[in-house]
């Protein structure tokens, strides 16, 4: 199935793309905005609506289609940011949004708190750094795919990732 997308003009093909990509797009937008959930859902829906309207102009395989969707989502996030000129962290980070449900209650509380700090720190990164982190960790993209998507060398992406992690660690609040 992978790499064998027919034209997206075909409704079944588009539906299949939606089924496979909607969580990816949702996670990308969530990672970029940090919430609130309603806004993330709205922008995810808008991403697919725009893709639907522009589907006649797209050609490529499934990976390319997902990259295309991420670019549409990216533009929507930028527009949204410009419109609001603010961005913040979702205060209602739900437990189901974390893959840590096997942990005990105390650990879950700690993880939630640490994730909140992390989301706050992420919003102090440059948009490029933020994007790389979201693609690498929330979408689990390999470095070579990120490099291709953002138009960088693989080595540059790897170095950026190390530097961003260092920066996140250095900026982690002492009192926590």
């Amino acid at each position: 199935m992978k790499g064998q997308n027919k034209s997206l003009q075909d409704v079944d093909t588009f539906r299949r793309l939606y089924e496979r990509a909607h969580i990816i797009v949702y996670r990308y937008i969530y990672g970029s905005l940090g919430g609130p959930v309603q806004e993330v859902e709205d922008l995810t829906a808008e991403t697919f609506m725009r893709a639907w309207k522009a589907r006649n102009r797209f050609e490529g395989d499934e990976d390319a289609a997902i990259g295309w969707l991420i670019k549409i989502a990216h533009n929507l996030v930028i527009d949204n940011y410009r419109r609001k000129q603010t961005h913040g962290v979702d205060e209602e980070l739900e437990e189901t949004q974390l893959y840590a449900q096997q942990a005990g209650p105390e650990e879950r509380l700690l993880i939630r708190e640490q994730v909140r700090i992390l989301q706050w720190l992420l919003h102090n990164l440059t948009p490029e750094q933020h994007e790389i982190i979201v693609l690498r960790y929330m979408l689990d993209w390999p470095v070579n795919r990120i490099a291709e998507h953002v138009g960088m060398l693989e080595n540059t992406v790897s170095v950026s990732l190390r530097r961003i992690l260092q920066r996140l660690r250095d900026n982690w609040p002492d009192r926590y």
Binding site: F14, R15, R27, A100, I111
Partner: protein, 269 residues
Amino acid sequence: MLQEENSKRSKSHLPSEEEIEVLLSQIKPRPGTSFYEKMGHAPWETPRIRFSPRLARPLVVTALMMILILSASFTIPSVQAVARQLLRYFSPSMSDLSSVQSPLPLPGGQVSAYYTLSLGQAQIEAGYTLKTITELPDNMVFSGAHIEPSLKAAAFRYSNGRDDLIFTQRPLGIITEYSSIGASATVDPVQVRGVRGEFVSGAWRLQSGQATIQETSLPGTQTNLGLYWDASFPQHNLRWQENGMAFELLCTGETIGKTKMIEIADSIK
């Protein structure tokens, strides 16, 4: 591994870069039911498939029944009887075409809307000790659970955003324990966890333009669904029984095959 990392973090409070990586990997949000309700009306969704929140309940039942069980209600009884002598868990139909009377059509891409429970919530609702997969394929994460009380069935969904893995468990004796497959399907007997299991690739799919449903919000509305067996559809199904329980692993996509599914089954504890 996760617990070890979490434990380390709680001791140091200031996470290392590696621990930050682990934290980042744990942020795996997924859309809520309101998103799926909204997207159910998207133009690429089949217009005839309409449902309202009032229909959520039968839809859940149907989804679980159709996806995980596909009981032989739409096959010929005499064929079922013969089939049961030959096979333990799968029952071939007379042909690769079939139809089923169902309260609602197959939900298609709405499946993820049903897996809304955490593992803890599922455990409480199930009322018996649930087993879980301990070794997941790369990049697969738990993405929700569903309990179907009428079957006492628990289904866990794992996903990597592209492929899905659904693990179902239920006590034996509540429903007939076999599943309908197309005439051309190949049932592969396998050894799973020291017992006999059966593996099948392919799926029943809706015939294009066959499904109809009256535009009504009354639960239980019956509709005729035309189905065809697609042996090349990238869906794999592994079933086995042990200790009074029926288990099933259902995987969509091409990355996980028979050997991997047996390995996954072996990791269930």
